[in-house]
Amino acid sequence: MSGQEQGQTGLEGARERWVRTGGVELCVAELGDAAHPTVVLVHGYPDSKEVWSEVARGLADRFHVVLYDVRGCGRSSAPKPLRGGFTLEKLTDDFLAVADAVSPDRPVHVVGHDWGSVQAWEFATVRRTEGRIASFTSMSGPSLDHFGHWIKKRASRPTPRRAAQLLSQGVKSWYVYMLHTPVLPELAWKGPLGKRWPKILQRVEKVPPGAYPTPSLPTDAAHGAWLYRDNVRARLRRPRADAYAHCPVQLITPTGDAFLSQRLYDDLDHWAPHLVRRTLPAKHWVPRTRPQQLVAWIVEFVTAKEEGDPAKEVVASGPYADRFGGQLVLITGAAGGIGRATAFAFAEAGARVIAVDRDAEGAARTADLARLVGAPQAWAETVDVSDEAAMEKLAAKVAAEYGTVDVLVNNAGIAVSGPFLSTTTEDWRQVLDVNLWGVIHGCRLFGKQMAERGQGGHIVNTASAAAFQPSRILSAYGASKAAVLMLSECLRAELAGQGIGVTAVCPGIVNTNITSTARFTGVSADEEKRRQAKVSRMYGLRNYPPEKVASAILRAVARNEAVVPVTPEARGAHLMSRIAPRALRALARVEPPM
């Protein structure tokens, strides 16, 4: 019986025990070595501890992972009567009983999702748990006290912005009002809603199918309604004034959360000093949809707190560090120019960087400096992106040694300039091999890994302003870049459903090395050298730094933008390609001075 149930719960290898407290019996599951630091995972509504199964498995080899079914949920018993049995005070008793049972001598690290986080905020801010909690990782569940103050602040002095924030959160909280109605929620959960819930989660939240939710869902949800009824009104009306966290807090905010506005956490630094913020492009049920990212951040945070080195910053200093910290980023063409600058920008945001280029020395240098500016790890790989076999080997190696890439930047490219009629087949082959096939190989191999993992990701393809700005001397280059642009837009549509974003970056004239190695067709070798020098000098005078393109790339990934022209001339051309394409065509006929 129990073995069968464990099979259903998806918590293989867990040691179960029962903790009796305050008239209920709590079902507690443990994984990992009990000698390691203890991490307690607290589930939300309407879940049971199985919501954590993937995360728990990821944490188990480093920590003593403890999960328990909150009273009334899963295999824990429900209080009698239900009314008044779910107050935060009683839930705190439960937590302390579990903590005492599983880790009597050492404080525990708490991780809470949804109502688990709401509860854990209570644990982290009341006096009687002081010294029992070593750290708290919160996702998608604010403290009701902080929430109460947040509402009060906005309701008492409603500037237009504050009023809008209040209204927006008010709309997102529709289900809270629903749950306050008597009987109806219970009927719905035990009836049609409970039956359809798994399908709804799969469709709306993109939760992968599996052993979650468990069959106990209808009763869990019916009992859990009392979480709202017993606490929400009372706390929002009279929030505690002393709800300060007495342990370090890591806040993980999913940006696509349908129930909680990101603005809720604006004032959190006031309540939780030394707050570490993380953002995740995902919906509400992150323990199901983004387990690996959560594991990475929890491991990093808990380890830092265990080691207790105050000088060690958990979050890197660069922009978007909350978003890219600890992620794996692969960049092609990383030995110079935009690729190298992008590698550094990601490194400053705390990402792990794989610098790929056919120039081994340059790639190694990029990886080396990336470590200096903040990448926890950085590697260099020597690969020609146009070589399919080599790219396949790279993809296999990356998957085996470093994991699945979170952000892929297909940046490697070469330039060819000259009239179409003097562009040889060989020229065409070269430029398409690198600029188009390189991108295709990258998207195909690493995009496949991302899709198979099913936990989102992002692909950035470096196109060019030449993709939408025709020119009489850039037929081959422009064609390759236009193909990259369209490829990106098609792929974006295809992968959108899997949480994978695709961005085409279209820089204009940027001061990089591409000009000094550009191929000029139809001219002698000497003339080619002269033109390379001249164009390089012109690009140098324009002096648009690749660092700005790199910032645009990070911003585009964070905001999941589709097409990003960088530099004023690229933005101008992009605009004209839409409103005045004839003017652009006329401009294309002008022969540039060489």
Partner: protein, 292 residues
């Protein structure tokens, strides 16, 4: 222009007594300036402002007899060492930016002492800063490159481009692009001591006069006392003393050295160009790193 071009006939350290004495004079003031930089750097503490650091340099040098300047001492802290967002020359002047632990700093001064000029740059950091250490280590290649190519008598503009290429290959940005005229070096010369030596925008008027007259003469003969990336530097190295200052920038940290390169018109490559002094803080540091 009495001395340096006189090096034409001279051998290093010997021959042409006037020249040897001159070089000794320049060397002494350069050493004095570096001693000042080291003394001030040793006194820098968290909370010291750029203005205070500049004032400390000025006081130290005045106490040792400096009355005139090629330019007044500068100090840059933190991301100002990489000239982040520098648009106008006024931004070079010391500000109230405070030094913090781990911050990089640059002290730059050009005292005139007994008629001899030095112009030096000293990079350091308060405590640990691995990025700064790497930048400083990578500057060694630039010192070698510049000397080698000057001895080859390559046009200054080409040498400039090679320096910049090396910086880009190293992964850095060329920050002396932000200097007036984007110069990597400028000529220095003897300055006649005057009782009254005013400064103009931080530059000693006597030295500016020298530079202006060089520019005038140079313009006639097709060379410039400013070593820049522009066409007016498209000529072989002009004999004389050049204060060379390659400046690397990387993600908000900058490092440079500045010291005098002696260029002569000797036919012997060894004698045609040499660094005035090889016993300087940054050179010693590289030697120690090399030995370790």
């Amino acid at each position: 222009m009495t001395s340096a071009t006189g090096a034409a006939t001279a051998r290093r350290g010997g021959g042409g007594r006037g020249l040897a004495a001159d070089l000794r004079g320049f060397k002494e003031v350069q050493r004095l300036a570096y001693a000042c930089a080291e003394a001030v750097a040793a006194q820098l503490r968290p909370g010291v402002t750029e203005r205070e650091a500049a004032r400390m340099q000025r006081r130290w040098l005045r106490e040792r007899g400096v009355r005139d300047w090629f330019h007044l001492p500068f100090a840059w802290f933190g991301d100002r060492t990489a000239f982040t967002n520098f648009r106008i020359p006024l931004q070079f002047f010391p500000t109230d930016r405070r030094l913090e632990p781990g911050m990089a700093f640059i002290l730059d001064m050009a005292p005139v002492h007994q008629g001899f000029t030095a112009d030096i740059g000293y990079s350091g950091c308060l405590g640990l800063n691995p990025v700064h250490d790497r930048l400083l280590a990578d500057l060694a290649a630039h010192r070698e490159l510049i000397l080698r190519e000057v001895r080859e008598r390559r046009p200054l503009r080409e040498i400039y481009e090679d320096v910049e290429r090396l910086m880009v290959r190293q992964g850095y940005a060329n920050r002396h692009r932000a200097y007036p005229f984007g110069v990597i070096a400028h000529k220095v010369d003897r300055v006649r001591p005057r009782r009254w030596s005013p400064t103009l925008f931080g530059f000693g008027t006597q030295s500016l006069k020298g530079l202006a007259s060089d520019a005038l003469h140079g313009h006639r003969d097709g060379w410039s006392p400013l070593w820049s990336p522009y066409k007016f530097s498209d000529h072989p190295p002009q004999p004389g003393l050049w204060a060379v200052e390659p400046h690397l920038g990387f993600r908000g940290t900058g490092a440079k050295f500045e010291e005098i390169l002696v260029v002569t018109d000797s036919a012997d490559p060894e004698e045609s160009a040499f660094w005035l002094d090889d016993d300087l803080p940054h050179v010693r540091r590289w030697q120690e790193e090399g030995a370790a």
